[in-house]
Chain length 547, copies 2
């Protein structure tokens, strides 16, 4: 797509020209830097990301004991999910050298977490709400200390993340403190589907790296990992029913065993994150034929998959069955994008099949998609399909379909009008590989835009930012995702009123830069906020908070 | 330095122009990819980095039990350093889901580590040698299994790293295997000083990030972290004797408490890595005056430090004393580079002092450096100084001085001729912020070049790659350092014969690409090897092993 490439190229070149002359390559040069030491002293700025739905706060500073203990109560008090999460957050909140067994007085010594259900089922729409009270002992408050109340363990996880962001290490007192207390927070997400697409086909991402992405997602309350595992370039996943499929991997080492996939799903579940797998058909599937060349219509036509063979649908059905065991999420992505059917017409036996079935290639595309949808539905899955399926055959799609918008704006309004559910990923605003889309655009893109009938609002499940992997590998994936994905995370979690602001630079930017630095402190390679292009280096020296 | 900037700019622009047109921004495009599955089948390529000094191997494949246990023997058998390292390596070698309690037969079930000394002192020149035997039980070998023998725990650590690289996960058998066994390795470094400079002044790097850099260093057997903590832009370190010094930090949060520094030293020590601190004077010290403006000659002359005041030297002396407690490494960097003394001449009281002392500014520069050297020596430290000190006043330097070359080639030959010790960091080849220096140049730069008198060879302690921080922050520091620093790591560890090769692309490149992928698998954001410029994204889709 030349115009897209030009669009990306020329500004890049101009910026790089400017960048080059700014960068010093010596031991350093003298720059008068500004020093901003006033975080938290302005208590009109709330340094929580994403912004909670409801909150009040005060102006007191509370100290938090390095011996902070967890008191887990309620029906869900046996939850290892919460206990393990508390240990992870302890490590994030306190320095490794924090003094335990101290006899000093602290305002907050116990974190009480009350979970009213012991059901740890993680399915779409699970209750993620929580209440967080944080108060000093001396206030006479009934609750005192810090308390999180939630209906499920997953609400408790969201509360723990917010609590961890309230805790700030003070280098003067060398203690962890909470500013602007007491806090009363009542929080829940605006959208239930707050996703990140991760493409592990264009570049293999090691399991350790996928886990680091999931960990970072949990810091922003993103809750769906859309795992785009397979595509035309590589088939890295083990499929036990058809064990030659992963011969399509780049190499024997760039693979995911079934156990790796279970491991990732489990890791995500412990953070309240769903994993939505994708099996993209009939296009984007060239790699399937490395192990099973019969799936290719011919040696010269390696995509889309061969529609004429039962074998093709047997393989798809087995892949879905095998994946159904691994991925408990009830929503499954079947792809269906960018289907170029030209070589169906150019391959003799396919042409013959089309003629015999009285189908155009467009009819055949529809037939393929609907057939696979039914396989998924028979496996008790709700199918998601990329928007071309809706754009091309609209109401023929199974009514359960979730339409995944990506090509541009204005699609979800049409989809919900026809009664379909929808997910927003409009590439002009939420594609992370589009490096020229700034954080402000990620932040201000409203999923319900254009949907005037409020009854239809509930059909928009939410949205997803997409990290396509053509130029994203282990070396640069995290700083391509962050911090822009976090901007979308707030749009998806926080109330519409909170994220509809005019003066982003005054109201949102300081909070966003602070959060980027929090990600850095947690070891996440979030890129500078104020760069023109994504994933660029800082243009020069300076404080994290000002870049 | 305009010429340097132009040099960096124009090729960058041309490359970016080319890059832009190659990068796709759509859902993907069809590319025929090559699939290389033949790692380890060619047993003439040894996939160990850095290459051990002596080794022999066979052609057998051995399986390694997921229950692999450590048998720690010898005088050093109580070593928690080795036990903790073994646990870390277990996590790197085995999948988190590896089946324990398996009744299957494995060739290697125990790793025996014999350490002949219990002295865990980590000082320059500590014995890092080790012997590693890896053999199958059935071979009738006396030792069988896997054994590491070392004189010190630090040799054992080096052996553990090598052992971990021999262990490869096989996705077909889902077992960890060792190829081309049996292995007999006898290894020790060529140079004792194998360093990486990390600049945490131009950009603050969180403690977690510094630890990740240290962890990655341990994978390459680099053993000195030259911590360039402070510079003109920011003073992030706590100095208890002069607590206002860190008011020069970028912000209250971008600081290192004394306990953070101890923590980093301890983390490094557990990996056999020295931390060499730097206090760069009299230049590069503008940030010191934020807390103590008396250190500035005047409001308009904020660098170099005020030579006329006892206070200046009291502060330096106290900084060195405070740091001496934290940093046990006997070698300490005193900087001394890029000293622009113009404003000494332009500030009245300094000019007067120079006149009274009958000194030119150059004399004064020398006076300052030598005075500070003596302070360090009185603290039982061996001083390192950047080469300008040698270039400017040669033999006036204290005889204990280690000259740190950086400006270009040919300096160490002159320094060792005068009896000084030397460290090589020639910026044309070993500066990591010079993005146009490719891995081949890092690999082939010979520290002893130009030193014909072999008696002088021992005066070259080793070398250091330098990660200056002007454009390196948490978001991009790791992929700027790696993999090029690893190329230098092999030059510094492995024998000269091994690293002096003509056909790098055939002999070294496959091993280097493999190692880069190993770093990725361990979660280290090492950049593609074959890019023209450092820290660039992959230019397109593909296998890690081919990028």
């Amino acid at each position: 797509m030349p115009s897209t490439k030009l669009r990306n190229c020329i500004p890049t070149l101009l910026l790089l020209f400017l960048f080059c002359f700014l960068v010093s390559t010596s031991h350093g040069r003298r720059i008068r830097v500004t020093r901003n030491s006033t975080y938290h002293s302005d208590n009109s700025i709330v340094y929580l990301w994403p912004l909670p739905k409801h909150f009040t706060h005060g102006d007191q500073t509370l100290s938090v004991s390095p011996d902070l203990s967890l008191s887990l109560q309620g029906v869900g008090s046996n939850s290892s999910v919460v206990q393990e999460a508390f240990e992870r957050y302890r490590d994030l909140i306190f320095k490794s050298w924090a003094q335990v067994g101290s006899t000093s007085e602290y305002d907050v010594s116990t974190l009480t977490v009350l979970v009213s259900s012991d059901d740890e089922t993680l399915q779409f729409g699970v209750d993620e709400s929580y209440i967080l009270y944080l108060d000093g002992k001396q206030s006479g408050s009934i609750v005192g200390g810090a308390t999180i109340e939630a209906n499920t363990v997953y609400g408790a996880l969201r509360g723990l993340e917010t609590f961890s962001q309230l805790c700030v290490f003070n280098y003067d007192t060398k203690a962890v403190e909470v500013y602007n207390a007491p806090w009363y927070i009542q929080d829940e997400p605006r959208f239930a589907f707050r996703g990140l697409l991760l493409d592990t086909s264009r570049h293999y991402l090691p399991v350790k790296v996928i886990k680091e992405v999931i960990e970072a997602m949990s810091y922003t309350k993103l809750n769906v990992l859309h795992w785009h595992i397979i595509d035309e370039e590589a088939f890295p996943l083990e499929v036990p029913s058809y064990p030659k499929l992963w011969k399509g991997s780049y190499s024997k080492q760039e693979r995911y065993a079934v156990e790796d996939a279970y491991d990732i799903v489990d890791f995500a579940k412990k953070r309240g994150i769903h994993v939505m797998a994708e099996t993209d058909v009939p296009g984007h599937a060239e790699s399937w034929g490395v192990g099973y060349p019969d799936l290719w219509p011919s040696e010269n036509c390696t995509e889309p998959l061969d529609i004429t063979k039962d074998f093709t649908f047997e393989v798809i059905s087995s892949i879905l069955s095998d994946m159904r065991k691994i991925f408990p999420f009830g929503i499954f992505h079947l792809g269906g994008d960018e289907v170029n059917t030209d070589c169906w017409n150019n391959t003799a036996h396919v042409k013959e099949w089309l003629t015999n079935h009285n189908m155009t290639t467009k009819d055949a595309y529809q037939y393929f998609v609907l057939k696979v949808q039914q396989i998924a539905i028979d496996l008790n899955l709700i199918p998601v399909n990329w928007e071309e399926t809706f754009d091309n055959f609209g109401e023929k799609l199974n009514p359960l379909t979730v339409v995944h918008n990506w090509l541009g704006p204005g699609v979800c309004p049409k989809a919900v009008e026809k009664g379909f559910k929808c997910i927003v990923s409009n590439q002009g605003v939420w594609y992370l590989d589009h490096l020229d889309v700034p954080w402000e655009k990620f932040y201000t893109s409203e999923p319900l835009e254009g949907i005037n009938n409020t009854d239809h609002h509930k059909l928009v499940l939410g949205g997803e930012v997409c990290m396509w992997g053509e130029t994203a590998d282990t070396s640069d994936v995290q700083q391509t995702i962050w911090p822009r994905a976090a901007a979308a995370a707030e749009k998806l979690w926080s109330p519409l009123e909170a994220t509809t602001v005019n003066n982003l630079n005054q109201t949102i930017l300081p909070r966003f830069q602070y959060f980027r630095c929090l990600l850095n402190n947690r070891g996440i390679a979030a890129a500078p906020v104020t760069n023109f292009y994504a994933r660029r280096p800082p243009t020069g020296v300076g404080s994290c908070f000002e870049q």
